[in-house]
């Protein structure tokens, strides 16, 4: 889309890159029926999608695209954002998603992965910036993409080739 002006850049980041070891974490992992504390290593290998909070249009766009491309049938796909387990459960139901979503209200996981987005105009609220990591069974990062602009959407084709 041609906007006729420059899209806002996000500040530089220190996100994980290919070959890095993915930090382990435990958070409530929400499916369409319940949630339970789950370690990333329990679901790896997995495609880990950091995304802005449920309800924002990037969240909706990203997950509808992931659903329509059938990634959930090809791989274990998990999301991470600051929304609560209750919000995650509604979100999965509303968009008919087969994915599972980690609830990380403190945004600590995004901090560990170097993908924090400090929101302007929402004092005390932050969320992950869009970022996608393909983590293998040994918790090594096989593929990494991190948004550089606000907003920016994942390069779906490129990710599909990495799957």
């Amino acid at each position: 889309m041609e906007l006729g002006f420059d899209v806002v850049d996000l500040p530089s980041h220190d996100a994980l890159t290919e070959g890095d070891e993915a930090p382990e974490f435990v958070r409530p992992l929400v499916n369409d029926e319940y949630w339970e504390d789950t370690a990333l290593s329990e679901v790896a290998p997995a495609l880990v999608v950091f995304y802005p909070m449920n309800g924002s249009f990037p969240a909706t766009y990203i997950w509808q695209e992931v659903r329509d491309r059938g990634w959930m049938e090809r791989a274990t796909v998990v999301g991470v954002t600051v929304s609560t387990p209750y919000s995650h459960k509604s979100f999965l139901g509303r968009y008919g998603l087969d994915a599972r979503l980690f609830a990380d209200p403190s945004n600590e996981v995004a901090r560990e992965y170097g993908v924090v987005h400090d929101l302007d105009g929402m004092e005390g609220v932050e969320e992950p910036r869009p970022a996608v990591f393909l983590i293998d069974g040994e918790m090594s990062v096989e593929y990494a993409w991190v948004a550089q602009e606000h907003p920016e959407f994942p390069p779906y084709e490129e990710i599909e080739n990495a799957l």
């Binding site: 029926e33 319940y34 949630w35 339970e36 679901v43 790896a44 274990t76 209750y86 459960k89």
Partner: protein, 96 residues
């Protein structure tokens, strides 16, 4: 990817699992008893709305919580009074 799914399923029967609702006093009563006997368990939180609790119905036959699924036999216990009675008998002074 099949490997991840398989291992995910395998853990389901290896662990004591408590289906619970946040802030439900009957569930907290069971938690207190599990803690008292130092028993490990995995918590699965479900929705307040009964109609949204199909997973509970599948494991126990009804949609009420708490439900405790034991690791030893895979036995499913419902009703907090029953669960507490079972835990007391198995792990309390009266048990072996």
């Amino acid at each position: 990817m099949w490997f991840a799914r398989l291992s995910f399923r395998m853990t389901e029967h290896d662990q004591r699992t408590l289906y619970r609702l946040q802030a439900c006093p009957f569930c907290e009563r069971v938690v207190r008893k599990l803690d008292e006997y130092g028993l490990e368990y995995k918590s699965r939180f479900v929705e307040p709305l009964h109609s949204e609790r199909d997973v509970v119905k599948r494991v126990s036959g009804s949609r009420t919580v708490p439900v405790l699924v034991g690791p030893e036999t895979g036995a499913t216990l419902t009703e907090s009074a029953n669960i507490v009675e079972y835990l007391d008998a198995e792990y309390g002074k009266g048990g072996n």
